[in-house]
Amino acid sequence: MSSKLRIIKDILWFFAFLALIAGIFRLWYGLGPTTALSDEMPWGLWKVMNMIAGVAISTSGFTIGFLVYVLKMERFRPLVKPAILIAFLGYGSSCLALLFDIGLPHRFWHPLVMWNEHSFLFEVFWCVMLYFTVTTIELSPTILKRFGAEKLSHWLHRIAFGVVVVGITLSSLHHSSLGSLFLVTPLRLHALWYSAWLPLFFIISAMAAGLMFIIFVRIAYARLYDPDPIYGLRMDSGIKSNGSEFFATPQMKNLALLGAIASSILGIYLILKFVDLARAGELMLLFNGSWESWLFMFELFVAALLPIILTVIPRVRRSPAGLGTAAFLASFGLVLNRMNVGIFGYFHDTAQPYFPSLAEWGLSLGVIAAAALVFMFISEQFPIFDESWRRRMEKSDVFTYAFDKLSHVWNTVLMSGLQRVTLIAVLAIPLAWLLFYPPFKADDTTDGRIKPAIGLDQTRTVLLIDGNRDGVKTEFPHVDHQNRLGKEQSCQKCHHIAMPRDNATPCYRCHSNMLDSAEIFDHFGHMQLVAEKEKLDGLHPKNHSCSNCHNPALPNTASDAKACTECHKEDMKLGNEPYARLQLASASPYRSAMHENCIECHKKEEIKQNKPNLAHCSTCHKSLEPVNLKIAKSADTIKALPEPLTLAR
C-alpha cells in the first residue's frame, strides 16, 4: 500500500470516527441539542447533502446500466461494476445518514405498511428502497463468486437484464420525485430555483453528474491504485513530449467519450434552465445583484458551463487531469445545486441563516468517508475494477489466501491496520467529544452569564451572575431574592421579561435608581385597582385596563406607559409613597440601605468637618418635588460644591 493511499485512508477513518461519536450524541441527546435545525429550517445538511445530493450523485448505476445493457455500448462494460458499487454505497450511506436525520429512526419501516400515495416522499421512499435492493442484487454476483456460490451468482447473472430495466425505471421515477419534493414550497423557495420543472432538472442534472462522478472515481482510483499507464489510464498529461500527439489509452478514450455524453446532457440542462427562467419571466432576477443571483450563476458556471467547456476541448477531454477536473466540477456543482434548492434557497424566508452544527458536518462527512472506505475495501478484495484487480492478484499472493481461512482474512485486514486505526480512534473520538458534546455547546449559548458560585456556597443559593451584561460577575443571593419577593410565585418578577438566550431580567431593571421601586411593576394589582376604580364592565374588565396606562399603538413596554406620577401625584410626596401606603414595602429595604450607606457617613463627616448641612436632603436631592426626588445629585457634584454648604452655616 502506497503511503499516499495510507494517508487518505487514515483521514477517512478519522472522519468515520467523528461520525460515530456524532451519531451516538444524536441518538442520545436528540436533534435539538446536536444540530442547528430549527422550526424554520426543518431540513438540513443530512437530508439535503447526504440524502438528496448523495442519491443524485450515485446515478451512474442506472446511466451506465442504460448505456451498456439497453444501448449495448459494450465499450463501457468495465464501468458497470464500479457504477453498481457506487450506487450501492451511495444509496446505502444516504439511507444511513437519513436514519440519524429522521426524528424516530426506529420507525423507518412505517412507510412500508402505512401508505399515502399522494406524497412524493412516499414515492421516493419506495423507489429508493427498491432501487437499493436492485443494486444489492446487481452487486451480489461479484461478491458471491468469491465465496464460491457459483450457482446462485450464475442465476443472478441471468436475470441481470430484467433487474437493470427495473432499476432504470425506478431511478427515473425517484430522481425526478426528489425534485418534486420541493414543488410544495412555491412561496418559500427562492424564485430562481423554484420551478414547475424541478423534477426535470433534477433527473437531467443527476444523470449528467452521475456519469461525471464515475469518471472522477475511475480517474482517482487509477491514480491511487494503478500508476501503470499501460493497463490503466495514462497518468501523465497524455501528450507526447513534443506536444503534437495524443497517447490516450483505449480506456481513456472511452472515458473521454463518456465525458462528452455527460457534458452534452449538461448542455441540455443549461439550456433548459434558461428557458425555464425566461418562461416564468424571471430572467431579470439573475441580474438584481442579490447574493442568490450570484450563487445561481456560480452554480451554473461550476456545474454546467465549465465542465462543458473543458470537455469540448479534445486535448483536455483526453487527459486524465483535464477530464478529472471537469468531472469533479460537475459533481461538486450537483451537490451545490441540491444545497441551493434544499438549504440556501430558503434563507430569504428565515429569520436567521441556517449553518449546520459541527456534529452535523461530522456525521455528514463521516458517513461519506465510511462509504469511501467500504468502496476501497470492496474494490481491493473483489474484482470490481477488473484489470487492476487481476494485476494485483498476480503481483502478490496476500489476497489469494485471504479467503482460504477466516482467521487469515482477519489477519490481513486487521493486523495491517489495527494499530493505525486504533491510534486514529484514540485521537478522533476525544476530539469529536470536544467538538460535538452537547453540554459543552450549551455553555456557549447562555454566554456563561450565570454560574453557581462554587466555593462560596455549595448549596448554590449564591450565584455568580453577569446581571448587567457588562462582563462583570457579581455574587447574587438568589434564594434570598426569591424569599423577599414572594417565594416560588415570584419567579416571573425577574424571569418573565427574559430575552431570548437570556436568563433573567438585568439587575438595572430594578436597581437603576435608589429610589425606584426595587420591584417589578405590580401589574396584576394595578389592573385590579384600575378595574375597580373605573367600574369597567364587559366580560373581563381587567383586559380593558391595559389601555389606561399603555399606548395601544405601541408594543406595551415600560417606555410607552404613563408615568407613575400622572396617577400618583399625591403619593409621590415625601412620606406618602405608594409602597408605604399600600404596604408593599418593596423599595424600602433598598432605599434605607442606600440611605444608610450615604447618610450615616455624611452624618459622621458633618461633625468631623463641621459642615452642618452635609447630611441634609438637599445636599443630594435637587428638590423635594416628586418629579425631582428621583434624581439625586451625583457624588462628584457634591464634592465639587463645598462652598454653598459652608455658606449655609
Binding site: I102, N116, H118, C546
Partner: protein, 266 residues
C-alpha cells in the same frame, strides 16, 4: 365542516386564547413562556397558537389554518396527518417517523417539532377536535373575551364575514382571508389591516396539492412508458446490431476490432 372566523378588529392581543390553548394541550407553561420570545412568530412545540402584533396596534391570532386541501396531509408519507370530517387537520403521533416534510410543505409555517426531545413528535393545533366532538367550543374560541373568534360551520361563517364587511364597509378591507387562498382554509380572517405577517400570500395562490397531485397521479403511466421505452430501444438496437453482424459476416473481410477503433477516434 366547521371553521373559525377571526375578526382582527376585535382582537386586543390579551393572549387569553394562547393560555387556554396551552392548558388545553397540556403543554409545558414555562417552556411556552420562553418560546414566546425565542421564536419569530411565538409558535413552538409548546405553544401551538400565538398572537402576532400587526401595525397600528392590531393583533391577530396565528395557528393552524386547517386548509381545505392541506399541503401537509398530502406531503406526509405515512398518512400521519389527516383532514377530519369536522374540518380539522389532525396529527396521529403513532404513525409519524419524524421526516419533517410537513413542516417544509406548510405554506403558513405551522407544524413545530419537539427538538429537545429524544422521542420527538410534530406538534400542531388540532382545532381541539376532542372538544368539538364533545359538543364544546375550541379552547381558544371559548377563552376569547372579545369574541374576536367565532366557531361554526364554514359556510355560515363565510356569510357572517360578508355581512360584517357589508355592514361596515369603510372599516373592513373587502376581503375574507382564507376564502380562496391555498384552496380555502377553515380558519378565516377579516381585518382592517393587511395580514401579510400571517404568511397569507399577496396574490391568491392555488392549493399546494394541486401542484403535486397531477404529477404524482401519473406515476404508474410514467413508469410504464419508461419501461416500454427501454425495452423497445433495446429491441431496436439489438436488431440493428444483429443485422449489421449478418451483413458483416457476408462481407467477411472487415475485422470487427478495427471497426471499433475507428469508432473510438470520433
Amino acid at each position: 365542516m366547521y371553521g373559525i372566523l377571526v375578526d382582527v378588529t376585535r382582537c386586543t392581543g390579551c393572549e387569553k386564547c394562547v393560555d387556554a390553548c396551552i392548558k388545553a394541550n397540556n403543554s409545558n407553561y414555562e417552556k411556552a413562556q420562553i418560546d414566546s420570545v425565542a421564536a419569530r412568530d411565538g409558535l413552538s412545540a409548546n405553544r401551538l397558537s400565538s398572537i402576532i402584533k400587526l401595525e397600528n396596534g392590531h393583533f391577530a391570532r396565528k395557528s393552524c389554518m386547517h386548509c381545505l386541501e392541506p399541503s401537509c396531509v398530502s406531503a406526509c408519507l405515512v398518512g400521519s396527518l389527516t383532514k377530519t370530517p369536522e374540518g380539522a387537520v389532525v396529527y396521529d403521533p403513532s404513525k409519524c417517523i419524524g421526516c419533517r416534510y410537513c413542516m417544509l410543505a406548510c405554506p403558513f409555517h405551522i407544524p413545530r417539532y419537539e427538538w429537545d426531545s429524544t422521542h420527538p413528535y410534530v406538534m400542531k393545533c388540532a382545532m381541539c377536535i376532542d372538544r368539538i366532538q364533545d359538543g364544546k367550543l375550541p379552547a381558544c374560541v371559548e377563552a376569547c373575551p372579545e369574541q374576536a373568534m367565532i366557531f361554526g360551520h364554514r359556510d355560515e361563517l363565510l356569510k357572517k364575514a360578508r355581512r360584517r364587511i357589508a355592514a361596515n364597509p369603510e372599516k373592513y378591507i373587502n376581503h375574507v382571508w382564507g376564502e380562496r387562498e391555498f384552496g380555502g382554509t377553515a380558519v378565516m380572517y377579516i381585518s382592517d389591516v393587511d395580514l401579510g405577517k400571517l404568511d397569507w400570500p399577496k396574490v391568491p395562490a392555488s392549493a399546494i396539492p394541486e401542484l403535486t397531485e397531477p404529477l404524482i397521479s401519473k406515476t404508474p403511466v410514467i413508469a410504464m412508458s419508461v419501461m416500454g421505452g427501454i425495452l423497445s430501444i433495446n429491441w431496436i438496437i439489438g436488431r440493428r446490431m444483429k443485422l449489421a453482424a449478418e451483413r458483416r459476416s457476408q462481407a467477411e473481410n472487415l475485422e470487427p476490432e478495427v471497426k471499433k477503433d475507428q469508432d473510438d477516434e470520433q
